[in-house]
Symmetry: C2
Subunit: 281 residues, 2 copies
C-alpha cells in the first residue's frame, strides 16, 4: 500500500512537472523561432499539451509551425476593440487612464489558433510613435503573458525578442527555463550576457544556453569560452540541408537528421533538469 | 563666365546631394549593423561628414564602428532627466500629459559620441511594461529622429529594427534610400515584403535591397526570384574570414576583400542613384 502511495505521488509530480514553461530569447536571427518550433513539435510528439506564444514581432512562429495561412492569424495587439473593452482605453489615445489589471483569462481559449495539436497565440507588435499612446495595449499584452505563464496547464513555449523586458518579476518565477540561443559571433555573445544580467535583475535564476549554426569545433570553443559560467543544453550544427529545405519551401521539421538528433538531446536535458529539481526524486 | 557659373551650380548641387539620408532595415540578424558600419566608413573615407544612428536596441553599432568603450555610451532613452526636462513627463509615470513637440535641436551636438571622424547617436530601447507609461520617451526619440533626418547637414546612416514604425510620414520624405538587408531564407524575404508594404503606407518610395551572406548562385537566384519588383544594390558574399575576424576580436572593416569590394559597389550605386535623380544632370 505504501508502495502504491509513493507511485501515486510520483505520478502526480510527473503531471505537475510537465507544465513546463520555457522562454526563448537571444539576438535577432540566431534561430529562436526555429528552436521554439522544433521543441513544440517534440513536446507534442511526447504527448504533452503545448501552447506556443509568438512574442517576437520580427518572427513568424506560425509559419515555422506549418500553420496553413499564418498571416491570417490576427495578433492580439491589433484587436483594438478587445483592448478598449478590457482596459477602458482606445489604443492611440494619448493621456488616457486605463485599468492596470484587465481581465484576460478567457482570451487564450477564444483567440488561440490551433494546428497539428499545437495551440498558438500571436502577441503582435506594440505600436508606438509620436502622436499616440499605446500603453493600454502594452498592459493587456503584459497581463495576458503573465496569465499564460502562471495559469495555463500546458507546456508553454514562449518565442521572445532579444529583450526579456516582457517578463515581469512575478512572471519570471513561473518560467522553468529561460533558454538563450547564441550563434558564433561577438554580438550574439554580448546579447546573451545582457539577457543574463536582465534575468538576474528580475529574479529569474533558471537560465541556459543553446548554441546554433555551429560550423566547427573552433566556433563551439569560442562560444563555451566566452560564456564560461553558463549551462549549455546543446549545440545545433550548421546544416545546409535546413537552408535548402527552407528555400525550397519544404517542411523544415524533418529536413536535417543532425539537427533533429540535437533537438532530442536538448529536449531530454530540459525535461530531466526539471525532474532533477523535483523534490520527489 | 557662364562655364564657371554652371560649375559653381554643380558644385553647390554636389554639396547638397551629399546630405544623403540612408535608413537600413531588415529581419534581425541579417547584417544591418554590418552594412551600416561599413557604409559609414566608406562615406568617411570619401570625405563626407557622417552621423550614424543606432536605432536598433538589439544591435551595437558603436562596437561595430570600433568605438573604444561602446557600452559606456548612454542611450538617449536612458536619460530620464533630459526626457522629463523636454517633455514635461517623467518616464514611467502613467496617465501623464506631455509635450508632443519637445525641443531636440541641441541634443545631437551635446550627446553624440565621436570616433575616427564618425559621429554616433544611440537611441536606446523604449521601455514598456504593465506598470508605467513611457510614451514621453517615445515622443522625444521620435522628435529627435525627425530632426536628425530633416535638419542635419551630414550623411545620415540609420541602423533600424526590422520595423520601420520609427519613420513617420513626414520623416520618410527625408530618407533618400531605405535599404532592406535580406539573407537567403524565407523569413527574411517575408520581413522584406512587410517593410515594403509599410514603406508604401508612409509614402517612402525610394527602397532598395542588399543581399547578405550569399553562399552560391542558387541562393542569389532564390532572393532575386522572390523579390522580382525590387531594386538590388548589391550581393554581399558569405565569407568565413569575416566570422573568423569577429570571433578573434579583430577589426571586421578590413577582414574580407570580397566584402570590401561589394561594399564599394553598393556605395557607388547609392551615390550615383542620387546623382541620377538630381536635376543638375
Amino acid at each position: 500500500m505504501l508502495g502504491t502511495s509513493i507511485r501515486e505521488t510520483q505520478l502526480c509530480y510527473a503531471s505537475i512537472r510537465f507544465l513546463m514553461k520555457i522562454a526563448i530569447s537571444g539576438k535577432g536571427g540566431v534561430g529562436k523561432t526555429l528552436l521554439a518550433s522544433l521543441l513544440s513539435r517534440k513536446f507534442i510528439e511526447a504527448g504533452y499539451s503545448v501552447l506556443a506564444i509568438d512574442a517576437d514581432p520580427d518572427a513568424n512562429l506560425a509559419a515555422n509551425l506549418g500553420f496553413p495561412e499564418p498571416d491570417n492569424i490576427i495578433p492580439i495587439s491589433e484587436m483594438d476593440d478587445l483592448i478598449e473593452e478590457r482596459t477602458g482605453a482606445r489604443p492611440g489615445k494619448s493621456g488616457s487612464f486605463f485599468k492596470l489589471n484587465p481581465r484576460v483569462d478567457d482570451i487564450p481559449d477564444r483567440f488561440a489558433a490551433e494546428h497539428d495539436g499545437i495551440k498558438l497565440m500571436v502577441m503582435g507588435r506594440i505600436k508606438r510613435g509620436g502622436t499616440g499612446c499605446y500603453c493600454a495595449e502594452g498592459v493587456l499584452l503584459q497581463a495576458l503573458l503573465s496569465h499564460l505563464l502562471l495559469q495555463r496547464d500546458e507546456v508553454v513555449i514562449l518565442d521572445m525578442e532579444a529583450g526579456i523586458e516582457h517578463l515581469a518579476r512575478g512572471t519570471a518565477k513561473a518560467v522553468d527555463y529561460l533558454v538563450v540561443v547564441v550563434e558564433p559571433g561577438r554580438r550574439s555573445i554580448e546579447t546573451t550576457r545582457r539577457i543574463q544580467e536582465l534575468a538576474k535583475d528580475i529574479g529569474l535564476e533558471k537560465i541556459a544556453v543553446v548554441a546554433n549554426k555551429v560550423h566547427n569545433q573552433s566556433e563551439k570553443d569560442f562560444i563555451t569560452n566566452n560564456l564560461p559560467d553558463m549551462t549549455f543544453l546543446g549545440f545545433i550544427p550548421y546544416d545546409q540541408a535546413l537552408i535548402d529545405a527552407d528555400l525550397a519551401n519544404l517542411d523544415i521539421q524533418g529536413a536535417s537528421q543532425l539537427i533533429a538528433d540535437e533537438i532530442s538531446k536538448i529536449y531530454e536535458a530540459l525535461v530531466s533538469s526539471v525532474e532533477t529539481a523535483s523534490p520527489a526524486k
